[in-house]
Amino acid sequence: MFGYIRLELLRTIRDGGYVIFGIASPVVMYLVLSNLALAPGDERSGSIVTMVSMAAYGALGCAFNNGSGIGEDRSAGWLRQLRLTPLGPVQVVAGKIVTGAVGVVPSIAAVLLTGVLVNHVELSPGQWLSIVGLLWAGTIPFALLGLGNGYALTGQTASMANIAAFLGLSIVGGLWVPTMGFPGWLRAIAEWTPSNSYATMSWHVAAGTAPGARAVAILCGWLAVFGLYALYAYRRAGRTA
């Protein structure tokens, strides 16, 4: 399985979609947005909020991109080829999940490092650790949604669905523009999205409070939904492979 993870990571870092959506675009958007000061509060706290938003945005990009990879692999007959090697199906799925989880790290790190180095964001070590941990673990529901799409749909369609889900959740969840500026009805929707709950946990930590029970509960709810979806899609794909 180690060899499989190594191969998949090699493919990930050579993937333009990963570099653009997962790393370059969140870093660039962070630099632009933090200097426009769209976020509420003074410039310093605004910069922190935007940093968390963009790290979350990048992490989602990676998680969904990983799911699209499965769709591509299915279309290419790669999953069938893997079934013809001694590698077991559980190892393949586990390897893909590990690859996705590892792939998220550079994206989070790139935005947070830009925050420290360029915008001189200062947080306590405990806050940094919590934010990295929450942003990292919180991608699991999105990774599952992405994988579900990858298994349920074929190549091109899976990518499209994932990009749509990624951008839609990023925007509606208030990762690009804070939900304060949203009309009331949209803000009501935003507060139930997984992406908003995901970022809210880290926004709270950055502001010096606990992640918030409501956000954790909503995200866990979505985790269950997307987990079931991914399981269903995986089983269905297994029957037709």
Binding site: D15, G77, L84, T85
Partner: protein, 295 residues
């Protein structure tokens, strides 16, 4: 007793209303090179999918080396090249083969695999930048890199030109010489004739003939005896040995199981104008075998 490499017992598989494989039974002893020959849609790929554990049969049983196919594959006993696909972008030939090799317990050294697949010097090339023939050779290399005892190839030469095909078979013969069991499907008759110890002809999901290519030719034994005639010809169909009669213009082609007797009878009847005798070839046998079923 040593288990056969492959044993299919009355396997059946339908896709909706279409019965792709219909009660097919086939046993392949270790070390044999077998060609699965049949027209498109005969059920070759479905048969291969079932014996590799990719497709669960509706009924019947598939066994590899005495094990469930999935289990045999997990133990590295089989390597396979599906009809298409299996290549991923953004990796080099060397990276891909090293990965596949790493999943087996005792793989072949990379250099040896590259040589067998005629890919030496291409290991640093990106898989997505290869020509069709080169891609096909990488797929072949993936099937044999684990040094499995059974190698299964579904239409291995479909995308290759004549030269590449020749090179491919020379690599295959090296493997057969090492005692590997090889099963390949093809709709090229000459390949089955030249490369296999045994030819299994399948049509509409069933085995219609099974033997060496010489035996198969003999089963149907359709030597063609042609003469030029005029007038009534239907009596020619009743001559000794004649199985089928075809009239094209003023030429009559008699497909005969006993060409000597047919020619003697023609001579006695004084009907040997422009006599021509063409020996049976596998193509005729194949056409006869698969056409018979439609009647």
């Amino acid at each position: 007793m040593e288990n056969d490499a492959v044993s299919l017992t009355a396997v059946t598989k339908s896709f909706r209303a279409v019965r792709a494989v219909d009660g097919l039974t086939l046993a392949i002893p270790r070390g044999q090179t077998v060609a699965l020959l049949g027209p498109n849609g005969a059920g070759k790929s479905t048969t291969i999918g079932m014996l590799l554990g990719l497709i669960p049969p509706d009924s019947g049983k598939a066994v590899l080396f005495g094990l469930d196919p999935g289990q045999a594959v997990r133990q590295g006993l089989a390597g396979a090249m599906p009809q298409e696909g299996g290549l991923i972008p953004r990796v080099t030939v060397g990276e891909l083969l090293t990965f596949v090799a790493g999943t087996y317990r005792a793989p072949l050294p990379l250099g040896q695999v590259l040589a067998l697949a005629q890919m030496t010097g291409l290991e640093n090339r990106r898989v997505d930048k290869l020509s069709g023939g080169q891609a096909q050779r990488v797929r072949f290399a993936m099937a044999l890199v684990g040094d499995p005892r059974l190698i299964v190839l579904d239409e291995p030469t479909a995308a290759l030109d004549v030269e590449a095909r020749r090179e491919f078979w020379s690599g295959m013969r090296t493997l057969a010489g090492r005692g590997k069991t090889i099963l390949f499907s093809t709709h090229y008759l000459d390949e089955a004739d030249e490369q296999a110890d045994r030819v299994v002809v399948i049509d509409r999901g069933r085995v219609v003939a099974d033997g060496t290519s010489a035996e198969i030719k003999k089963i149907v034994a359709l030597t063609t005896v042609s003469v030029t005639t005029s007038g009534e010809v239907s009596w020619l169909g009743d001559l000794p040995g004649v199985r089928r009669l075809e009239v094209r213009g003023d030429r009559v082609h008699l497909r005969s199981a006993d060409p000597d007797a047919t020619v003697m009878a023609l001579a006695r009847a004084g009907a040997v104008r422009d006599l021509e005798v063409t020996p049976a070839d596998l193509e005729d046998a194949f056409v006869a075998l698969t056409a018979k079923e439609t009647v």
